[in-house]
Symmetry: D3
Subunit: 160 residues, 6 copies
């Protein structure tokens, strides 16, 4: 298997039906979080070529409310690889089909997934090709978040 | 509004979860038909810039079974315009995320949608730009289906 | 097993709840298509006494919109048998419970199902008894559609 | 409006999909109770020609487990009328489509519904025609349950 | 295993989303019945430490309508043990989050569950500790309902 | 309204049914995120006595996988108040009903909600009573996260 042939990005999209409304009549934020988790799962599974599970989610931000009838486009991209973990940047854009509107950023987050082998033990994943400047920048930022998070865990363990 | 700036194509995709399984454990064909209808709706609504309803579906074919875990990618394209009707060609491709597989054609169909004004009466839709040979060919085929269908309706009415 | 004792018709019905609404607040056409597929499946499975899958859907027409609260009655009838395929005529009627209304035809379609044996290979199905003039007429029409469709496939293959 | 022309019975049916399974893999009893409530609602709404709400359910019995793939047929019949209340006898039968089985009784219950006018206040409902011996017998039994229940309520109030 | 350490009570709660609405826009009574069944199941399963199935539901009463946005709190308590049956008292309270309201009783019922061993045959369940006066009173009432129901079954069998 | 009488904590719980499974047959992480969002919403709405929307989620961690049949208990507590924002600490515990297990921590996260007035503009929320040392400690930590986040936003804006 040629690593460089594996795509790092996946797009999942959906038209928002009334069954996904919250109490106020907008789309339930939890439904969008579920969609983001599915998209991160798909991107990581395809990249790792193995089962993956969500380990953590950071900096999940809601920028815009989403309404019934909106087209939601969720893009997940594997941007950083730790030993067996994959950081997936997830962005949700929204488009109002009625007003021929441009797509606008509605949510974003970083999902950390862990690749598992057939015995549900962490397994290593192939390195990212990083052929463009953009992918190298994203990787560096992912690495910074990964190390910040590890340092924080260490501090919490020392305190406990 | 500049007609030529309106996109005629929309892509909706989804990872198939177990809640969409049929009695045999594959994905329920009806769930995919529902996804195709939503995608045709989105493409027609964006193109017509008004509410649209499904009037008929023709030549819906299942080429491949779809399994839990598959990524389903549904593409809908407005290919023909009658007075207030839009023919939307819908194609469903499927990708097995586990085996780094190529996408394969799983279903296809033609959806006829009708554009409605605010009083739920049919309204006219802008003509297709048809700038490429491909779009002109698709339009010609759509026109043939449209006229065949009208001729058939006439025969049925005469017989009745 | 006595073929003539097998029923060819099945009726599935449902009261339409708000969770099945589309963006405009009516019942999502895709939900009704899913109901039609389930009903065709049930009729074909009972007749064939084996697993069945949907192969194609033709002439699916929406005659009336369906609203929240309507009673939807879907009837599927096996009308034609090819070697291992069954054509199932599906009709959806709708009744407004609030206004003591008569049932009105809302959708219709022809579903072609294929019977599968335990190794998922097409298997033959018992012939239809065709004891009434009506069942013989329906069979003849089904046969015509079956042959038209086969001829069309042949033309497409020759062109390709 | 001619009372005798109003139907007292309604049938709702469904093929059981895996999304309705409980933890043990059979169909969730609560899903069937929901289906019974919808069917009682539909029968009472059509009979009363007004909004109705469920007030109580008695003697709900599960006779047989229901499995994925079963056809469930739920019949609701208005059998007794109090001032603004309707007693609806609900029976669920189940059919195993794979084994060409007869329908077997799977659940039964009595639902008491109350008819409401536009201000959500109880309104009277037309009397039952009771043209057959069977309908008169069912009415007498419904009346007995209605009076037993009222006597019991009185005793509870006196004790409190 | 120490019987007295087993809890007899479980609480399941949920905020009511629009996808659970009925035709009139309130919460579908059947959805609440389904929630009650799940809660009775959880209480009985934990107490019996084995699979359990619902055998009957008695005296299910709706005291208050439930609206979209309400917090629903469902409490199930094992109150009586027959040989392999468990009677579970289920009570639903509702709280209007918007008006800082107190919780009010909305539904109540008695669920009779049967404990099953690994071959799906009834198995005996441990006796209730009954250490408080309240638990002894509830047990006595449960026993009365259990015996009334058995006597009634006997009368029905003799008549049949 | 007496601020100190407002509860800051809410508990939402659910038995995990097969319809919430992911591709691997465990419970879909996105379903649990949706449950956490609903619980944070309920806690914040009750505290703020107004509509609230999710603005961000931080440090969402999955500690344990959740399986079909597990009882999931989600606790949300308002721990910090900014002007119109509320930080809600959300913790998910899981209990295996079959093995009489203790509850174990399965997920945790911080949800930031914003209170909105009737014109969907941010409105101020009452201060937390902070009568115990524990609530003061949680508040101090919430304040630290709030200020870290604000400082980070400032840096991002300066860079852009």
């Amino acid at each position: 298997m040629n690593v460089e042939s594996i795509e790092t990005k996946i797009v999942i999209s959906e038209v928002m039906m009334p069954s996904k409304a919250n109490v106020a009549g907008n789309i339930h934020g939890g439904e969008i979080m579920k969609l983001m988790d599915s998209t991160a799962y798909a991107a990581a599974r395809r990249y790792a070529q193995s089962n993956v599970v969500t380990a953590r989610v950071d900096e999940l931000e809601f920028h815009l409310p989403i309404l019934i009838g909106h087209l939601v486009v969720c893009t997940a991209e594997v941007v950083f690889i730790g030993r067996s973990s994959l950081e997936v940047a997830v962005e949700v854009e929204v488009e109002d089909l009625d007003h021929n509107g441009r797509r606008q950023k509605a949510l974003s987050a970083y999902f950390t997934m862990v690749a598992l082998d057939e015995n549900a033990r962490p397994k290593s994943v192939p390195p990212l090709p990083l052929k463009t400047q953009e992918s190298q920048d994203k990787f560096a930022e992912g690495k910074r978040r990964y190390e910040e998070h590890k340092a924080k865990k260490r501090r919490q363990l020392e305190k406990a």
